[in-house]
């Protein structure tokens, strides 16, 4: 059932996710008898990330993009599906083996305030992954080189998180993620909490680090402009499914899924002339509840092209042009 959406580069991808499903059980908040209900946050998601590549994962709230990131790292246990990292099926690994593989997969969270221990020096926080993984020795030298790598200085190691600004704290989080020389970093809304003037510097840092160290990123964000800047390929999610995936420039310039088109047209651009003249597709209503998703195509309730077929039959991801796939019965043509 899963379609191969990898560009045919020949080499095996670093990360390969197949048919990923994640269900959460929730208690109904009202009524007698309190029936347990199931929310499918991710419903059969497949994608690949090549070595040194950045995959952008975009979508509105409830699209499942964050859950995908956590399932990849097995911070959440997937309900079904497979996650292959460097050819190894993570589900097959024992807890101990998983810990070793995890050295090479790291995550940076949105909130740089919440992800650092306020009572630990910055140096100790950065060295913690090395200690946890049982790597011997005095880590001071490594800490200093990591701080310098992210644009901070050696004497910052002795200071505490509260002495830093938001942008600097995010850099500390990145330094910690780099401590174990990962091959993959999941960046979960890494610049969303930062002011734009600061955000630009952190985005540049991600670019520079990738150029120097060659790791892959999964960049999860709701800000489509940032994703366009940083991602090689982009996956657009809606209610737990990938609606469209492909090379970023192609998806942004020639979206084939109506949802992608509507999403892009809703993003306000900092240019009054464009903003006041361009055609905007105004979607009605909100994203439906994932507890009770629409039958067939999940986007059909807000789609201006929806027909009876969309309610009956769920569209599969179909190739539209070189490396670009979308799941729609009535794709946009260019």
């Amino acid at each position: 059932m899963s379609v191969d959406t990898t560009p045919s580069t020949g080499t095996a991808p670093l990360l390969s996710v197949k048919g990923l499903v994640k269900e959460f059980h929730v208690k109904a908040s009202r009524g007698v008898g309190r029936k347990k209900r199931v929310v499918q946050a991710v419903s059969g998601v497949s994608f690949h990330v090549a070595r040194g590549e950045t995959l952008g994962l975009v979508g509105e709230s409830g699209s499942g993009k964050t859950t995908v990131g956590r399932c990849v790292l097995r911070l959440l246990e997937p309900t079904a599906g497979e996650v292959f990292f460097d050819g190894v099926d993570l589900a097959e690994l024992s807890f101990e083996d998983l810990r070793i593989v995890r050295r090479r997969m790291q995550i940076v969270f949105q909130d740089p305030y919440a992800s650092l221990d306020p009572k630990m020096t910055v140096g100790a926080s950065i060295a913690e992954p090395l200690v946890v993984q049982g790597i011997e020795g005095d880590h001071q030298e490594k800490v200093v080189s990591l701080l310098e790598l992210v644009g901070l200085s050696a004497d910052h190691a002795r200071r505490f998180p509260h002495e830093f600004s938001g942008g600097q704290r995010q850099r500390i989080g990145v330094a910690r993620a780099l401590a174990l020389d990962p091959a993959l970093i999941i960046l979960d809304e890494p610049v969303s909490a930062l002011d734009v003037s600061i955000q630009a510097g952190v985005v540049n840092l991600f670019d520079d680090l990738q150029r120097r160290l060659g790791m892959s990123y999964v960049f999860i964000a709701h800000d489509l402009s940032v994703v366009r800047h940083i991602a090689d390929r982009v996956a657009v999610m809606y209610l737990g499914k990938i609606m469209e995936i492909g090379p970023a420039e192609q998806v942004y310039e020639r979206p084939t899924h109506p949802y992608t088109k509507a999403l892009l047209s809703a993003v306000p651009l900092p240019n009054p002339r464009i903003e006041r003249t361009r055609h905007r597709i105004m979607l009605e209503g909100d994203v439906p509840s994932p507890v009770n998703p629409p039958s067939g195509c999940r986007f059909r309730t807000r789609c201006w092209k929806a027909t009876e077929m969309c309610a009956m039959q769920e569209p599969e991801l179909v190739v539209r042009s070189d490396g670009q796939f979308s799941a729609c019965h009535h794709p946009e043509t260019h």
């Binding site: 734009v196 003037s197 955000q199 630009a200 985005v203 540049n204 942004y252 306000p268 651009l269 903003e275």
Partner: protein, 323 residues
């Protein structure tokens, strides 16, 4: 330009903190005209929200407000709590980022809107209820009659923000202050809410102040822009001037740091915003400014005309207007 309905002059807001006085707003002048959508943009801590919370009389006791805020001929700084109560919701309303915190969870939506109406107008319960349904319809809530009988938790985020807008405009205020009204919403819903605000403004001739950090939103809906930095307005321009010919180095830096198609690298502003407990002398932006000279440390620059814009930079003329 029409005469301003809201006139702010030399507004200063000081918070007393355990570490000493923190001057969050350091003397701003701002005019808001009827039927106009004015943007106040700036990053966190620039004083954009605090300025208007001060105007609304919504700051805690730890804040000292000085200067002048004149709404429709009435001085609001120093006005009694009773006077402010009669003004808020009638002449000037404010909506916030999080609509849920503005709604009472245990009352029906329709009742909350009619309460707002009856607080300021002589209306029967019945008339208020039917006006509430009309207001829900104006802000684009489907089946407003049924929805009026529901509770806030039964509404989605976007629908809640519509309800809050309906409450805010219930008494046809002269000024609507919208503080990051779409920041918590998804982008497709944001587009809907911006449309509602534009519609309401056109229909009621309300002066709207849009407080935001999102320059894209500003580009879409505003006519005039005030750029704030460290408690001061550093640039005031028409919408096209601010994007085409930004005059203050901070405005230019802000625009340059935005990701745009085709840019290989982003250009951040160096350093970070000043600690407002001890802001730098002179121009607060000089510690991050590429054009700063010794003169920038002496005296806080005042807004001066440069082309069609007003800008608070002593070097604006020399540094030139960029495109």
């Amino acid at each position: 330009m029409a005469s301003p309905v809201l006139q702010i002059r030399d507004l200063k807001v000081t918070f007393s903190t355990p570490l000493g006085p923190l001057v969050a707003v350091r003397g701003i002048d701002l005019d808001v005209s009827a039927g106009e959508m004015t943007a106040v943009v700036g990053e966190s801590g620039s004083g954009k929200s605090v300025s208007f919370l001060a105007a609304m009389g919504l700051l805690p006791k730890s804040a000292t407000v000085e200067g002048s805020v004149v709404l429709d001929g009435q001085q609001l700084v120093g006005a009694s709590a009773k006077v402010m109560r009669s003004i808020r919701g009638r002449l000037m309303s404010m909506i916030f980022q999080d609509p849920l915190s503005a709604l009472n969870p245990v009352h029906r939506i329709g009742a909350q809107i009619s309460e707002m109406l009856r607080a300021h107008q002589h209306m029967t319960e019945k008339a208020a209820r039917s006006r509430a349904v009309e207001l829900l319809e104006i802000v684009g809530i489907p089946q407003p009659g049924d929805r009026a009988l529901q509770y806030p938790h039964e509404f989605s985020g976007g629908m809640r923000q519509r309800v809050v807008i309906a409450m805010a405009i219930a008494n046809s205020p002269k000024v609507l202050i919208a503080d990051e009204p779409t920041t918590a919403l998804d982008v497709t819903v944001q587009a809907q809410i911006l449309e509602v605000i534009q519609k309401v403004q056109a229909q009621f001739g309300t002066a709207v102040v849009l407080i935001t950090h999102d320059l894209g939103v500003v580009a879409r809906v505003c006519e005039r822009v005030n750029v704030m930095y460290a408690g001061r307005v550093v640039e005031r321009s028409g919408i096209h001037d601010v994007f085409d010919r930004p005059t203050h180095p901070y405005t230019r830096g802000l625009l340059a740091s935005l990701p745009h198609a085709g840019a290989d690298r982003l250009v951040p502003i160096v350093g970070f915003p000043p600690n407002m407990l001890k802001p730098p002398s002179g121009c607060a932006f000089r510690t991050r400014c590429l054009h700063a000279v010794d003169a920038c440390g002496h005296g806080i620059p005042e807004l001066q005309p440069i082309g069609e814009s007003m800008t608070a930079c002593v070097r604006a003329k020399e540094v030139g207007v960029s495109t």
